[in-house]
């Protein structure tokens, strides 16, 4: 398709006053955008109508020089076949450089115009990826507990076919094993029936939901929109998306033999065992009972985290005892009572019923006795040692472990790493992986969902709660993190909505979060591939398999369009229609670098669109200003930064290169999970190369910034500017 390009400069929001628009247009003209129109308020209905008229007349590539690409997105959208490139004159020039002199401001404006223009000239409209054959539209739900059943119902309600696989002989999960449910309705005081039969009946009664009980999964192959799943009963089913709602495993009380005398007396039981007793037996014989909270929880030797449900469960179980025998002495020995939201009402109700809460310190109480039990604990509220005697039973409130195998990420293998050492590190990491599986993924990257900590599947916790690092496979309920029944219900619904979306995205041929709707995808110029496997290894989402000839085999519906593979590829054969090594490289090369004696240094800052760009916009909006020597270039993710860009910049005489992206590490905020970390590893490897070229490694700076951290951003910008002033001009200037 031939491209008809037109540029538009907005003169509103102070742009027209601060910049000479004719000069801006001229600068863009050098990079292929010859035609230009101006408007006083481009985002106004009249301005948009002017552009629309051009589009109707056949223009299909538009350079819009106005405000940031993050605002006015609806106004400046003309369908996926019309390329739009935005130049952020308002935020990055007029506002951010309001303290700079006229000349510097104009130079910045011209550079941004050139960069936008060259990008537009080199971009092509996307051709959405289409799976071969029919897109599988069923949602496969693995696990028939609270989360799984609610996911199945929600997906069915949204119009999907559902396949529900449960390993036990009947649906219900832990809900089916409970005597009663904690209060679910205002005023949250009375225990309620679990109504599990009603829920199971609803699920089994729907034609749209096909239930397999007593069944597990032998193998999962394929990609979103096209999963083929082999079941343990020999059947094969096709699904478009998968929800893993495999629930939790009680923490093994055998581990608490030493600390809490588990096993020494049959009347020392766990909360799970007590629940069973409450369901099947009679509790009226209990005259005195103690619950020990945090039994193996929030303890570095056991489960380091809070399971967030055991306090609530103990309150509920204490109420069981009080209901059977109101005169019973019921004690709860706790570290902190953690009963968030409505559970607080349950705590209060237990207190009203006369349950006594005794606060202990970090040491576990000692429990002894062959018949009746005695519990001795430090009582921090009395500041004394106290004894509870003649106890009929002690219940250990143990925590939850996700029913999911632990996967340890192999350390990132990057440029310059000794291959033998890397191999060994990978082997060591792999040895820590748990070797059982639920989904048995036939992925090159392993059979299980990558986990972050404690075997909980890895996800960008804040923004994309249900996602896993295998696109199209979502987690819901207690496998994701410890939670209560009411939360697991909501979780199931949330994951179902995600599953429905990913199937739709596979049909349309676009990305899911965080680049929802993006119709580009990485294309490989395979003739030049050297089979180094960096793309396959570094893709955070396991999107790239390997074919029989050991070539990378991309699965575009698994792809999130982060560009990490593009950043990884040493042969630079991976590109998107509107984002490639060449495009960004050309943007860098289009920057005009003044001669050394002009004393106008230049630094390119590669800005991640997810958090770093918004914070720059916010800073500009708040009236913050920065050096006119910086040039920001948007990138999809720091992981997409190819090292050749650094070389491009430095060899052109640019004095420094910054990479601003999301937080990495354990509490990462990287929207592509590993991108920011990968970038950091790659950059750490190039300082050697720089030294060889007699360049200071300080010229390259990777920084992390959160979406609301304007002050941090300003500090980073300031210190980067200082560094550049200190190291002085790039010796390659003018070559």
């Amino acid at each position: 398709m031939s491209k008809k390009i037109c540029g538009y400069i907005c003169k509103g929001c102070g742009i027209g006053d601060a910049l000479n628009t004719a000069k801006l247009a001229k600068a863009a003209g050098e990079q292929g955008v010859k035609e230009f129109k101006e408007h006083d308020v481009l985002c106004s209905p009249e301005g948009v109508a002017m552009i629309q008229a051009d589009v109707d007349a056949g223009y299909n590539a538009l350079l819009i020089a106005a405000c940031s690409s993050r605002v006015k997105t609806d106004e400046f959208a003309f369908g996926s076949q019309v390329l739009v490139e935005r130049v952020s004159l308002r935020e990055q020039v007029v506002w951010g450089l309001s303290e700079a002199d006229e000349e510097d401001t104009l130079m910045a404006g011209e550079d941004y115009m050139r960069m936008g223009a060259i990008k537009l000239s080199k971009s092509e409209p996307p051709t959405p990826y289409q799976l071969e054959g029919e897109v599988a539209k069923a949602v496969l739900v693995v696990g028939g507990g609270v989360a799984g059943m609610n996911a199945a119902l929600a997906a069915a309600k949204a119009g999907s076919q559902v396949i529900l696989v449960e390993k036990e002989a009947q649906l219900g999960g832990f809900l089916g094993k409970m005597a009663k449910l904690g209060p679910q309705t205002p005023p949250y005081r009375a225990l309620e029936d679990t109504k599990v039969d009603e829920l199971v009946g609803k699920v089994s009664g729907l034609d749209q939901i096909k239930v397999y009980t007593g069944t597990t999964i032998d193998k999962t192959e394929g990609a979103p929109g096209n999963f083929t799943v082999s079941l343990s009963n020999g059947e094969q089913v096709r699904a478009g998306a998968i929800i893993q709602a495999t629930g939790w495993l009680p923490y093994d009380p055998e581990n608490l033999k030493d600390e809490l005398a588990y096993g020494s007396n049959p009347n020392i039981v766990t909360n799970v065992q007590f629940e069973e007793k409450a369901k099947t037996g009679d509790l009226s014989g209990i005259n005195a009972i103690a619950f020990v909270q945090c039994a193996g929880s929030r303890d570095q030797n056991h489960l380091p985290y809070c399971s967030a449900f055991c306090c609530l469960v103990s309150c509920k179980q204490a109420m069981y005892v009080k209901a059977a025998n109101p005169e019973a002495s019921v004690y709860v020995v706790y570290k902190d009572v953690r009963t968030p939201s409505q559970s607080e009402e349950v705590y209060r109700e237990a207190q009203r019923q006369g349950v006594i809460f005794i606060r202990r310190d970090e040491t576990y109480p000692s429990i002894s006795g062959s018949g009746k039990l005695t519990l001795t604990t430090k009582d921090v509220l009395l500041n004394e040692q106290v004894d509870l005697e003649d106890l009929d039973m002690v219940v250990l409130a143990t925590g939850m472990k996700p029913n999911n195998p632990k996967v340890v990420d192999a350390p990132l293998v990057a440029f310059g790493e000794d291959q033998e050492k890397a191999k060994q590190m990978t082997e060591e990491a792999k040895a820590q992986n748990e070797d059982w599986s639920i989904l048995n993924l036939a992925y090159r990257q392993g059979p299980n969902l990558p986990t972050l900590k404690y075997a909980m599947p890895d996800s960008h916790f804040i923004c994309f709660p249900y996602e896993s690092r295998r696109t199209g496979i979502y987690t819901a309920g207690t496998v994701r993190r410890p939670m209560r029944v009411s939360q697991a219900q909501e979780d199931g619904v949330g994951a179902a909505m995600k599953a429905v979306q990913v199937i739709r995205a596979a049909e349309v041929g676009c990305a899911v979060h965080p680049r929802s709707g993006d119709e580009t995808f990485p294309e490989f110029a395979m003739q030049r591939c050297t089979q180094c496997k960096r793309c396959t290894e570094e893709c955070p989402f396991g999107a790239i398999n390997e074919d029989d000839k050991a070539n990378p085999l991309p699965n575009p519906t698994r792809c999130r369009r982060c560009g990490v593979c593009m950043g990884a590829c040493p042969e630079r054969i991976i590109s998107f229609k509107n984002y490639s090594v060449d495009i960004v490289g050309s943007q860098i090369k289009s920057i005009e670098v003044p001669e050394e004696d002009e004393e106008k240094p230049r630094a390119v800052i590669l800005v991640c669109e997810n958090d770093a760009l918004p914070v720059i916009d916010m800073a500009a909006r708040m009236g913050k200003t920065w050096s006119p020597y910086f040039r920001f270039i948007n990138v999809r993710c720091l992981g997409s930064v190819n090292l050749v860009w650094i070389a491009d910049a430095l060899s052109k005489g640019i004095d420094g290169v910054g990479l601003f992206g999301c937080r990495r590490g354990e509490d990462y905020q990287c929207h592509f999970i590993k991108g920011s970390e990968i970038a950091n590893v790659r950059m750490s490897k190039i300082s050697e190369t720089l030294t060889r070229l007699a360049l200071e490694s300080d010229r390259i700076k990777v920084s992390e910034v959160g979406i609301n951290e304007v002050e941090t951003l300003m500090d980073i910008l300031k210190s980067f500017q200082d560094t550049i002033d200190t190291v002085g001009p790039n010796p390659y200037k003018g070559f």
Partner: protein, 201 residues
């Protein structure tokens, strides 16, 4: 054996507002908020723990329960909505009823206060303290009132106390200070007392 529930049940059932402390979550807001906290051995918070732990003697003999000045701060601030002040007074009443005087001075002051109301229908900043001091006898009473001189001066400065009150005939002529309809007030007070006794009984 700690945490026997007999005393806790006694408090829940017999003490005014006693059952309200069941929902105390031991946050300590009352303790950190009470202006008397430095004078107290325990605080409301810890008293509730002692009640739950079954420490009857310790609680009923504790002067803290008679130190409360009825400032209401705790009741306003308790996140669990416990009327802490009411329970403090409830405990004090309950102790007295059981023949225990947790704090002699408060008892005396309370009596002086009551007497003043009952006899004149009024309380004022002069008569009540004087009555209170004189409970110790003439000499000791004078000593005590002298020791409280600074408080008296401060009250005067704040115009809460006027020297006129000490000048005859106001002070020395009995009955000059009474309200109209004192008899009716006394009837009401008698009735209230009887009702209170019935409730605690």
């Amino acid at each position: 054996m700690d945490y026997q529930q007999d005393f806790a049940k006694e408090v829940y059932e017999k003490v005014d507002s006693g059952a309200e402390i069941k929902v105390c979550m031991q946050c300590g807001v009352c303790a950190s908020t009470c202006p008397l906290r430095e004078k107290m051995k325990y605080s409301p918070r810890k008293l509730w723990t002692l009640i739950r732990a079954g420490r009857r003697q310790e609680v009923l003999n504790c002067p803290d329960i008679m130190l409360c000045t009825s400032c209401y701060t705790c009741k306003v601030r308790c996140p669990r909505g416990i009327p802490v002040i009411d329970v403090m007074h409830g405990l004090a009443h309950y102790a007295l009823e059981k023949g225990i005087t947790p704090r002699e001075e408060t008892k005396k002051f309370g009596e002086a206060f009551w007497d003043s109301i009952y006899e004149t229908g009024r309380v004022d900043e002069a008569t009540v303290p004087i009555k209170y001091c004189l409970k110790d006898g003439m000499i000791a009473g004078l000593k005590k009132s002298l020791s409280m001189l600074d408080i008296g001066m401060a009250l005067m400065k704040a115009k809460r106390l006027t020297p006129k009150l000490f000048i005859p005939p106001n002070f020395f002529i009995p009955g000059s200070h009474k309200i109209k309809g004192l008899k009716d007030l006394q009837k009401m007070l008698d009735k209230a007392k009887a009702m209170g006794a019935r409730k605690e009984g």
